[in-house]
Amino acid sequence: MKLQELTICNFMPYKGEQKIEFPQHETQNVMLLFGDNMRGKTSFLNSIRWGFYGLAVGRHLRKIPLINLVNSIAASEGDWSMSIILRFSHEGRKYELRRKVDKKPHVSIPKNDGDFEETIGLKIDNQVVTGDLIVNEINKVTPEEISRFFLFDGELLQEYENLLVEQSEQGDKIKEHIEQALGVPALINGRNEFTSLLKDARRIQARDAKNSSDAKMYAEQQRVNEVKQVTLEKDVSDLEIQQRDIQKQIDDIEDQLKNTEAVQKKKYELDVLKGKRETIEVQLAYDADEQRKLFQSSWKDVLFKGVQPLVTELKAKRDSLLTATKAKAVLDSKISDLQKSLDMPICPTCTQDIPQNEMNVIEHRIIELKAEAELSHVNLDDVTEINAQIDKLSKIQSSNEGRRICELVSKQRKMQVNIIKIETDLDDIEDEIRGFDTDQIMRQREKKSKLGNQLFKLENDIKETNIKLNKLGDSQAHISTLISKSTGSEGQASTIRVNLYQDLEVLFKTSINELRDGLREQVADYASHAFSELTTEHTYTGLEINKNYGLSIIDHTGNVLKERSAGAEQIVALSLIDGLNKTARKSGPIVMDTPLGRLDPKHRGNVLKYLPKMADQVILLVHEGEIDPSRDLSHFAERIGARYQIERISSTESQIVRSS
């Protein structure tokens, strides 16, 4: 199958009619549709899905109601019509599929899907296909069950990680989808129908056996078994209804919690910011106290500069006075010694009399010294006075109060700016989470946990009831054999029929597991090949597949790699998609929404080189963060056949334009 043209009208953000032509070239088979987040990439994917299957899906593959699909601006203008026209070719034939909805004539404003009228039309080579055959014709070309692997949302790639968890609810769902895509339903449906036909055949056989004396007893046993079987089957059916109901409740809560995850994060940010604000406020109070203390003694810092030279001067003066005092004491001592010579003019060394002329010299010297001593006279009160002044002035000490106050003021200013920023952030966050009840979130978590326990119990009950049913089936088969061998039953139509259905049921049942093993092996081969081209770590030897189709990376020692990065997960998921696609169908397009979100540049380069080889047509819905047009297009420029851009008209309206 090859997509040729898509015409969208009033679908989600696309108001009015918009036409997209898909590349038809064999090698230039890639179409790029660039669009920022919230502009309509997923809506584009959904427009194709809705066109083919009348279904647009959101998270958890939930159906989006029609009222949310019709462009809101058109609806507000009274136009509730919406349509998709898909032109495509398949095995040499041209298809034109039209799907349209409009509100029912008597409805003024639609409230649910029931208020809309849906029409579908299909032409094959210009021949109109009648209504009831349209769905079957579409399924022949591109079964809805396979759509998961060619219309896929890259943001959901992480779902495939659940395949690695044995018996996980989501893993089981995906496994079921995979097996539907791989053609296992042919055998599963066959087995189910043979089981049902066998039940009827046994009933007829038992009825016939009632007429035989040999087999009468077995017939009665078979009748009792049949009653038991009906009861057990009803039990399983009831349990499965409960299981689905509980699973739906869990999904709903998960959706709600997913939405509140952002609120939880914001709440945490709010608490952190409040903590920061409190710390700053404590610091501001402490600094204000410090500033007050500094102001109390700041006059000292102001006076200190003037007082300091005065103190130095006084100290110098005091030192000079003390030096003079010492000098006078020395002079007085010398005068005293000379005076002694005058008083007793005998030499103390030779005891001779000192001559008069010498005595005159001494006398003269004493006069000189006394004059000198007179000059060195110091009033000690002056020293005391200076000391007192020094003491007083020395009390004026600076602790750099001025500088420290300036620093504190600057610090306070910064902290106040921080507080303003924090308070702005707090206001923003409070606005964002206003209306969310965080206690309610906790209650929902508890409820989910309780429902999880109930689900676990139900799963066990279903398993046990199925075991009983299987045992009963064995017993019924055994009794059937006994009836078949009893006199008169052999060769009877009812016995032949039972034997045939029994054999066919066993054959189809056994073949399902055998086929699953073969398919897994093939998916693993294709996926390993893709992985070897996508990974940047060439020491990995390949991928190993589990019963759920979950893939593990095998390292160079042959062991399973236990920890995988987000990028590696995405590469493995893409490899699986490739493996499934190649196993499930011979040809067809792939439409991928945001497939490169978690990849580093090297892996992105590898993926971009490989993607054109994944299918005949590859339609990539990307934002410029995933594929940078100026840098990444070189990886596969020669494979690009068409390039479009989603342009924003308003928050609820976008337009797709072709770009060069």
Binding site: N189, L197, L507, Q522
Partner: protein, 66 residues
């Protein structure tokens, strides 16, 4: 599609392996019906299967439906 991943090939191989000896044509016919309608929403394959099997029942009884 390899032998291991082809449902019909698996059915035929297991028929022989399990010693069921179901007529290969019957298996092929049953599988073909299921294959053609495996993705049909409103498939009514039971009656078709029933018709094929009933024909075999009559054959084995020695009477042909026609």
């Amino acid at each position: 599609m390899t032998n291991k991943s082809d449902p019909l090939a698996v059915l035929l191989r297991l028929n022989s392996k399990l010693g069921k000896n179901i007529d290969e044509e019957l298996i092929k016919e049953c599988y073909q019906i299921q294959k053609e309608h495996q993705y049909d929403k409103d498939r009514n394959t039971v009656t078709k299967i029933q018709a094929i099997v009933e024909e075999r029942v009559l054959e084995q009884q020695g009477t042909d439906l026609i």
